[in-house]
Symmetry: C2
Subunit: 328 residues, 2 copies
Amino acid sequence: MDKKITINDIAAKAGVSKTTISRYLNDKFDNMSKTTKVRIEQTIAELDYHPNRQAQALKARNSFLIGVSVADISNMYTSRLLKGIGDYFQKTHYQVLIMDADNDINRELSNLEQMMTEQIDGMILQPLVHQPDHYQFLINKKTPVVQVDRYIEPFTWPAVVSDNFQKSVDLAKIFKTKQYDTVIVLANRITGVSSRMNRYNGLKAGLTGSQITVHLIEIDDSNWQSILTATLNVSQRTAIFALNGQVLWSAVRFLKAQQLRVPEDVGLVGYDDDQFADMISPAIASVSQNPQEIGRIAAEKLNLIMNEHGVLPKNIRIPSTIQLRDSL
Amino acid sequence: MDKKITINDIAAKAGVSKTTISRYLNDKFDNMSKTTKVRIEQTIAELDYHPNRQAQALKARNSFLIGVSVADISNMYTSRLLKGIGDYFQKTHYQVLIMDADNDINRELSNLEQMMTEQIDGMILQPLVHQPDHYQFLINKKTPVVQVDRYIEPFTWPAVVSDNFQKSVDLAKIFKTKQYDTVIVLANRITGVSSRMNRYNGLKAGLTGSQITVHLIEIDDSNWQSILTATLNVSQRTAIFALNGQVLWSAVRFLKAQQLRVPEDVGLVGYDDDQFADMISPAIASVSQNPQEIGRIAAEKLNLIMNEHGVLPKNIRIPSTIQLRDSL
DNA sequence: TTGAAAGCGCTAACAT
DNA sequence: ATGTTAGCGCTTTCAA
């Protein structure tokens, strides 16, 4: 390994004090002679010097690090979310530290602890848990936080989310128009995940006063398939509403295996994964979110909070779009 | 913002010197009285103290930061790659700094510069460019690097990749058996991307001596669709080989629009995105890579290089699997 | 069993 | 226009 070049090496080689080098690094050229400036520039290039960020951070008393905690890094929603966050911070002097909770509460906790040790200046959090007391240590710390996709209640930090409730209300209208008598909501465990709760509750709200029955089936339940079959057997015209991309594909797989036709035997509508929903036959109706925009706005909001304190917590809803296709 | 708690605060409150606190933090209990240990433990818990990583890094002369540079963060391959990398480093004391080049050479360069400033201890690189001179500054720095998915030539750093060439040779056999007379390779620009080159060259190698013609069509070319149509018109039995997931879906979309039947009118085989390839009708044959394993192995390898210097550059191939389905 | 003091690479207040 | 110096939070040598 090469010996690391420091500010002292540059100072010595350029024949000036390290203060002058520091001034150069921080663009303080007001009182610097042209010659000195050029000489420093050359020396830095020659030795390929990069100022040590840890030392700068230590001195400045902040780390220029943003922590991003995601529930599960390996799905499209997250990828696009991260794209948006990265695009924004790319233009700033912050670095992004992404940590994957892998849907494991203990791992999330350990990640958040790590972030504290890294002295992160701010954080974007897709919380695994709905209860604020689980994040109490973070709340106490007063670290700037922006939530994405989901939020804890009561609101402690601003959240940037999709308009989940409203879009389910809209879907309810469609179910009524198409004269379904049963809607099965297929989801991962919804308790404690605000986005899923809102999708479920929005549907029920939109359906009040109608004759349509709503069933919730969680695929974490090992015998969800038999529950689903049983439910289908006792209903006339049923639609399945899959609350995320992964669940949608489980549903498609199930229907294929059971040789149930869509939409003749059962209607189907999902969330996300638009480009694929569009591709299969019949094309599947879905609610299309905008995770990249959610990420971008969250990053922007966080930057605002970090640098001009006192912005109030607020719930920011990014519109999603219902893509009506052949499956309903 | 709360005043940050430092080692001095703990020392003062616990009534010992900061040396002793430091010893506690670094598990040096050999000569520490039980009482002192307990008192420190309590004080740390009470004040919710987290040692400052920047200060530790400055002292230790390394950052405990790993840089990961990916070509494009928003696709499934990358997500799963990152999952593997994260899972590995999760168990170490390293943090992972993920940077997205967004397929932009300048942005990649800027990211790598940033990483130098962050004093990263090591790097996992999915290079955008094939030529070593583009990465010369990195090579000079002697930063430990492991390449993933692709590599620059001649080999400078070890690379963990899929067995691209071999799997294309295997596919060639299948094309022969199924008596195709033309294979169209559909891809993003392959020049300078070793994985794509190997897939293309493997196919040609496997086909030498046969009567089968190979055409390469790059979808970056704005009129790829007309080129494709023209090619299909002059051939008898054609198969399309799409070199990655994204391109595969472009192909599916194209064939659907042209109302060409698969496999009757044209055969189709792709790469990645297995769960979707499996879902559509007809199910599409595809080569299934293992990006999570690639990530894990790369991380492991990097850790090895960083901590026990002198491991020689080597090309590690992770097997992928050909999933033969109805589309061929 | 514990502490004092020096120093990691940088910035900034205060010189000159 | 530039330099001297103290100090950010930590680890480590040396001493007690």
